[in-house]
Assembly symmetry: C2
Homo-oligomer: 348 residues x 2
């Protein structure tokens, strides 16, 4: 992402426990790769991230996307600042910074058409009428967020780019600028400005299917077969007797369920993989268990204690998401707390 | 649940972090209410539960539903034992207990038609042919699990009851017996035997809609409005520009997203509540944010810093689940790690 975005700075979005993958190890590895700018959603995520990075003894900037409120006074320092989403928050921030003096400057977020977070149309007009509303003393960057970047043909991308460019024209070169999320990076250099903010792409997910091919698949999820059994086609499988087979079949029960993020929407529709062979989910997904049809896999590969891959070489988070009617992002953030997590490569 | 089940013992299922609500506080409170038998899914959950209950200085029995394997040797003691799901596991367990001597006896689980976990048809035949296969020295209870108990009219309930009763006839009164999960308790005393094992009902969810009325709603989930804005009906809201309003509207952006278990399937379909008034989700649910249409709620009730209820008096976990195409169980287990959890009442 850094090489595609250069000369823009490449920040990293690590909110929601680094998209479910573990904030500490992920952020420390990114720091070792040279990343110094991080984005989180919540104040407590900023505190946790600052603690995780402390031992590296490098300078980092951590921005809290969900904005400024009174609780933030004790959190902000030389490495933590909010993204300000309204004139009211800008005012709060300036008052606070006038009191404490030094510290990391904040980012101001303009809503250019997503209607979710950031200065809206009226407040943007006020800034355009008086650019001095935002002081470079306390703010060093202006950002916005793209709503439809995963669809490069969507008219909204150009609309948002136009609104953002118009803002830059008025507010001028007193600030740095940032617009692109992961799919925005792939929209081309017109969208890069001074800093890009990929999240999803760092974890090998999101973007459209064409751009996704440029990403590495970095997550692997496996669980263990805890029992196998044979069933005939007059039997039913699982809750609600919803699962059926159309021939005498072998089933494997795996210690993984919706309590671990294997969504119930994957019942009778998702699949795992054993040595590259697809093994479909039969019946409903239980809280702690899922039952797979392993009839077409040699018995020697699916005994108690053997492992089934749910995310990995043969199925990306985005693939699994399609079966569940969602996106890879939600597959990752839904991964529960019961996994043993391991990290490949060096992490301080 | 205890009074409905008496004279059967009422155990508590607290797997998956007590259905997402916090294993320690939930189990300690249940213990104070007199509960001494607990069920978890995984070995690490048993260890965590044993630690949580230690300070109470009472005797508890903790059973691990997902069965026995070699790793269990170090875990099992006077308060922890597995539920054995196959003849192989029974053998492993007996060998282990012959070596170490004393300890909590295990439970043997027979699969009476769910085809998920437990001794299957062939192994059950073997036990029926030689009841001495299971020694009361190392096992004190026989259990099975109901597949369709939430539908009292389902033929499967009687089928499973018949198979279980047949087993009891042969294996005899050397053991205690347990069949009913939460909805099984409501099927009547024929299903209760010596111990019932409610999970869901303890947390106010599951069962069919008639029985659910007998349960208390015990979970409340709120999050904060972090921004409000006005939109016209020519604007779009959120990712993919999927959200639209058909009149000039006021929106509230709330700090809650699919990363917190507010499923993406709730996009343009779920709702929150402000002072009892429904506020529908507009557009897609983001990872950390959701946008609500608050046009019909007085502005004084939906300012920045005001709270929106997603689970509580006006919307149960099961209600929210309907909008997401799932069940209340998954709503609770999907609650993420970013909440401040509070418990009402006394917990040691």
């Amino acid at each position: 992402m850094r090489s595609i975005s250069a000369p823009a700075i490449c920040a990293a979005v690590v909110k929601c426990d680094a998209y479910g993958l573990g904030l500490g190890p992920v952020a420390r590895r990114l720091s070792e790769e040279g990343c110094t700018n991080f984005f989180v959603a919540l104040p407590q995520e900023a505190i946790s991230l600052r603690d995780s990075l402390k031992s590296l003894r490098r300078t980092h900037s951590i921005y809290i996307l969900n904005g400024m409120n009174d609780d933030f006074r004790d959190i902000c320092d030389d490495s933590v600042a909010p993204v300000l989403n309204s004139l009211e928050e800008i005012k709060l921030w300036q008052t606070f910074r006038e009191q404490v003096g030094s510290g990391l400057p904040a980012i101001v977020n303009f809503d250019t058409g997503m209607n979710r977070l950031g200065l809206g149309r009226d407040e943007t007009e006020q800034v355009l009428a008086n650019a001095m509303t935002i002081s470079p003393k306390y703010v060093n960057m202006i950002m916005s967020h793209l709503a439809c970047a995963d669809d490069p043909t969507h008219q909204k991308n150009q609309d948002q780019l136009d609104r953002f460019s118009n803002l830059i024209k008025v507010v001028g070169n007193r600030f740095k600028y940032s617009l692109a999320n992961s799919p925005g990076v792939f929209l081309g250099s017109r969208f890069h400005f001074d800093m890009v903010r990929p999240g999803a792409a760092l974890y090998g997910i999101g973007c459209n299917s064409k751009d996704r091919k440029k990403l590495s698949q970095v997550v692997e999820l496996k669980s263990e077969i805890i029992q196998t059994r044979s069933v005939t086609n007059d039997e039913t499988i699982g809750y609600g007797s919803d699962g059926r087979v159309d021939r005498p079949s072998r089933l494997a029960t795996v210690a993984l369920g919706y309590g671990d993020g294997l969504f119930r929407h994957l019942g009778n529709s998702g699949m795992g993989f054993i040595s590259g062979r697809a093994v479909p989910v039969i019946g409903r997904v239980s809280m702690d268990l899922v039952t797979l049809d392993v009839t077409d896999v040699p018995e020697t590969l699916c005994k108690k204690g053997d492992w089934v891959e749910f995310i990995g070489e043969y199925q990306s988070p985005d693939d699994l998401a399609v079966s569940a009617g969602t996106i890879g992002y939600e597959i990752l953030t839904a991964l529960g707390n019961r996994y043993r997590k391991g990290y490949v490569g060096t992490i301080s």
